[in-house]
């Protein structure tokens, strides 16, 4: 076909423009000329003009003024003009444009044109950009073409029908009969189109699927013909006869065999044949094998066939071609839940793929590796995963870290291993872990009481080596503050003894402070250490930061200084424990029965701190209330009703027993005529509820419980049975008699 000279000249002109500005100038001139031409009468050069406009459009310039020209050209009797007109329609007129409706009539006419190439244009355009309305309009035409035309048109009509069904689902019914009869055709193009159409119909309508199940034997025959036939030059691709058609048929078989024993049986032999006979040295063979494997794994295949399929995937994993390894892992991912053991057999190769250069392959390998972690292989898998984490691409780090945490939590063989693993992650990828990692880790450490010594030593050492990982530093500072005595004591069962002096520890904390991280963690750690160590150096550190530029640090330092001055005599406080607002549910009742108190409880508070392990330790010392440190005059405790309903009354009174304890007495009474049984009362207070002046939580997610003020809140749930019915109610108590609003 001779090239369009005017078009090529314009292209040359545009390309020779040296700057963007120059190019725009050329384009503007050309567009003006095109516009002028459009307005003129028919001059035989219309197709060239439109082609020019389409080129300009592809460069990214606006071309909407050509839409009407497309409509005109499509209606032209000249094939050259129709051809470019339809091309223009596909490029400029999508279904959202109003002008697209204007071509419906032209398409309709052209569908019945005497020349098949004109028909072809119409079919192609309809299948590319036909709107739902156009599809509804022209569906009967397409159906007619599906039945009574030559192969060239039939194959196109079939794919056009696919588009119609995608746009207007109900029209599927219309095409089902024609689709069925097309399966008897010999022409590969028509067969291919028919299979695509049937797939579409079956996916959308389960009844249609049922009806098409009967075609399984026919499909098996066709496949057999393709696989076993001799060399067919027309359809051969590297020794495979029409791989495109094979892949389609396999997909249809998958849909028909899914969840159906009968259909699956009928295709079993064929699938085995394809799986064993297909040459896998080239991509095209692997494409067919891939589709076969997907089909085998998705239907009710025999176990032998299934094993064969997984083995093929295993072979794919060892293939030199990265693409093949990638799709192998994608497929294995799909079946790792159902055929876990089979996939486990290939764990070694999968783990090797973690070291692949390609990020896509790495990602797949990571997903699969995480899915393959189990109790029996967790130690070795974790080693590999941690190794991977230290060198993995940035975009995978967060996912890898959280995957590792999940796996560690599920399968940790020991607490020490668990802590070590988390620490390792924090050291390598601390910046990519989620926020709740820090409180979770703190919780874990606290729970592992035998390991406190080991943990604090380890964290101290980690702090000495590297202070760049924020989360690690936070945890380390907290730990040092918490278990500083164990650190200073020097001996430790699990690691080598290291002599750590107070000065060493304070040096480390100071280094952190100086590294501009503006986290109050180290300061707070200093505060805690206050009672393990001699106070003077700590006080000097803290007071220096009283004039720090960072507002937060300054504020804390000043507050802590105040504490030091005020509570100098309290240097021998028992070590306070800390809790985390995120981990515990503030003001939510703790689920479960750990907090059940006896009716009419008297809650004593032996220590000024709070314990945090609610889930693991039961017992009555869970609801220690925060101590109030200021001695207050003991006034007679008033009693206030806090709940009254259906004859059940709860009254509350508070009494300060000592400087550090508060007793809350809840009295329940029944004023109804009938007895109340199974009465339980549960009360919860926030684990940690502070209102120190100024923001206290900031970047660190843990808090020390030295408080000057307490706002006490309590939520009480009662449940009881009365007259055969069960009752349950919840009440929140915000103010306590005897305490003022500030809880003093």
């Amino acid at each position: 076909m001779s090239p369009s000279v005017p078009l090529q000249e314009m292209i040359r002109a545009i390309r020779s423009a040296r700057t963007q500005c120059e190019e725009r100038g050329v384009i503007q001139r050309e567009c003006a000329a095109i516009r002028a031409q459009f307005r003129q009468a028919d001059n035989g050069g219309r197709s060239h003009n439109l082609a020019k406009l389409l080129y300009v459009h592809m460069l990214g310039y606006p071309a909407h003024f050509g839409q009407m020209e497309c409509v005109r050209m499509i209606a032209s009797p000249r094939y050259s003009e129709k051809r470019v007109g339809y091309l223009g329609a596909m490029m400029l007129l999508d279904e959202k444009q109003d002008a697209s409706l204007l071509i419906t009539n032209s398409i309709k006419n052209d569908l019945s044109h005497s020349n098949q190439y004109v028909q072809s244009l119409a079919l192609c355009t309809l299948a590319c950009m036909g709107s739902a309305e156009m599809c509804r309009d022209l569906a009967p035409e397409i159906d007619r073409l599906l039945r009574a035309s030559n192969s060239y048109i039939k194959k196109k009509a079939a794919l056009c029908a696919v588009h119609i069904v995608r746009k207007v689902h109900d029209l599927g019914e219309l095409f089902a009969p024609a689709a069925r009869s097309l399966l008897a055709e010999k022409n590969h193009g028509v067969l291919h189109g028919a299979v695509v159409l049937i797939i579409e119909l079956c996916e959308r309508n389960p009844e249609t699927l049922e009806r098409f199940r009967k075609t399984v034997p026919d499909l098996v025959q066709i496949m057999k013909g393709l696989v076993l036939s001799g060399y067919s030059p027309e359809h051969d691709v590297a020794g495979i006869s029409d791989p495109f058609l094979q892949v389609r048929i396999l997909r249809l078989l998958r849909i028909l065999g899914h969840n159906n024993e009968g259909a699956s049986d009928a295709m079993n032999d064929l699938l085995a044949q394809v799986a064993t006979n297909t040459d896998s040295t080239k991509t095209v063979g692997n494409a067919v094998l891939y589709e076969t494997v997907l089909t085998v794994l998705d239907i009710k295949s025999e176990s032998g066939l299934r094993v064969l399929a997984v083995n093929i995937l295993g072979r794919f994993l060892l293939n030199n071609d990265r693409n093949i390894r990638y799709i192998a892992m994608t497929s294995l991912q799909k079946i790792v839940g159902t055929d876990h053991n089979a996939v486990q057999r290939h764990r070694g190769t999968i783990v090797d793929c973690l070291k692949d250069q390609d990020a896509s392959v790495k990602r797949r390998a990571l997903e699969l590796s995480l899915a393959l972690v189990s109790a029996s292989n967790v130690r070795s898998m974790m080693k590999e995963l941690l190794l991977f984490l230290s060198s993995c691409p940035a975009e995978l780090k967060a996912h890898a870290a959280s995957g590792i945490f999940n796996a560690a939590e599920r399968y940790a063989p020991s607490q020490r291993w668990h802590i070590d693993t988390i620490l390792h992650v924090l050291t390598t990828a601390g910046g990519d872990v989620r926020d709740e990692t820090v409180p979770n880790l703190i919780q874990l450490i606290t729970n592992a009481s035998e390991l406190h010594c080991y943990t604090v030593h380890k964290l101290y050492r980690a702090l000495l080596t590297d202070i760049s990982q924020q989360s690690l530093v936070q945890v380390a500072c907290w730990c040092i503050g918490e278990y500083g005595d164990l650190l200073l004591r020097g001996e430790c069962q699990e690691t080598e003894a290291v002599q750590v002096t107070e000065d060493d520890v304070l040096d480390a904390l100071e280094t952190v402070l100086q590294s501009h991280m503006s986290s109050p963690g180290p300061l707070t750690a200093c505060l805690s250490l206050h009672h393990f160590t001699t106070a003077s150096r700590i006080r000097s550190i803290v007071s220096i930061y009283g004039s720090c530029i960072d507002v937060e640090l300054q504020q804390r330092a000043v507050e802590y200084n105040a504490l030091f001055k005020k509570y100098d005599h309290m240097s021998l406080f028992p070590p306070p424990v800390c809790g985390f607002p995120q981990v515990c549910d503030l003001l939510d009742l703790l689920g479960g029965s750990e907090e059940t108190l006896q009716p009419s409880p008297a809650v004593g508070a032996p220590a000024p701190g709070l314990l945090i392990n609610t889930a693991s330790t039961a017992g009555g010392d869970l609801l220690d209330l925060l101590g109030v440190l200021e001695p207050a005059p003991l006034a007679p405790a008033p009693t206030v009703p806090v709940y009254e309903k259906d004859g059940v009354t709860l009254t509350l009174s508070c009494e300060k027993q000592s400087d550090t304890g508060l007793t809350v007495t809840l009295t329940a009474s029944n004023s109804t005529d009938s007895d109340i049984s199974s009465f339980t009362l549960q009360a919860a207070v926030p684990k940690l509820y502070l209102s120190l002046a100024g923001p206290f939580l900031a970047a660190s997610h843990y808090i020390k419980s030295f408080l000057l003020q307490v706002n006490l809140k309590m939520r009480v749930r009662i449940s009881y049975t009365s007259q055969g019915s069960a009752f349950q109610d919840t009440v929140q108590i915000d103010s306590f008699p005897g305490l003022d609003a500030a809880g003093q």
Binding site: M1, P3, L7, Q8, I11, R12, R15, G44, A51, Y55, M58, G60, R78, Y79, S80, R83, V84, L87, M90, D94, E95, K96, Y117, S120, L123, C124, A127, C128, M129, S131, K155, K156, L159, C160, V162, H163, H188, G189, H192, G193, E234, H235, D242, P243, F244, L245, V247, T283, V284, A287, Y290, E291, R322, N323, Y326, I327, Q357, D358, A359, S360
Partner: protein
């Protein structure tokens, strides 16, 4: 298939075929981002990538990238074969095709594509038949034009 893009190593678009209805603005955005993503990949890397919620299959032939976005259930490996078949068709038609051929005869590249794929699916699996059809259509175009020229002369 949702769409196919052909672009040069400098990111210039040479062909775009969209099989899903999207606004011009969306098309431009997708094109820009996808082109950037694909160009950023190193030579030995996998031909498949997950981009947004699509599977993208791409392959470089000389200075042109052929990039297809397929649906989740589509076979990536056969898509590579489809790309390869298209390149073979272009090669046969233009005789050892190069990027310039596609630039200066872009409308023909489209005509060939439209004879191979319809509505995003392969319509003809025989290379010979696709080329024959194009040949016939080209002939029709020539004949008709000549007919027109003759009528003007008289």
């Amino acid at each position: 298939m949702q769409f196919m893009l052909l672009f040069s190593r400098q990111g210039k678009l040479r062909l775009q075929k969209w099989y899903v209805p999207l606004s011009d603005k969306e098309k431009k955005k997708i094109t820009r981002e996808l082109v950037q993503t694909v160009l950023a990949r190193k030579p030995k890397m996998c031909s498949f990538l997950e981009w947004r919620d699509l599977k993208v299959v791409y392959k470089r032939y000389a200075s042109l990238y052929f990039c297809c976005a397929i649906e989740d259930q589509d076979n990536e490996l056969i898509t590579l074969e489809i790309i390869h078949r298209y390149v073979e068709l272009l090669d046969k038609y233009f005789g050892s095709v190069c990027e310039l051929d596609i630039i200066f005869n872009f409308e023909k590249a489209y005509f060939i594509l439209d004879e191979f794929l319809l509505g995003g699916e392969a319509q003809e699996t025989s290379k010979k038949n696709v080329l024959k059809a194009i040949e016939q259509a080209d002939l029709l175009q020539e004949t008709k034009e000549q007919k027109v020229k003759l009528s003007i002369l008289h």
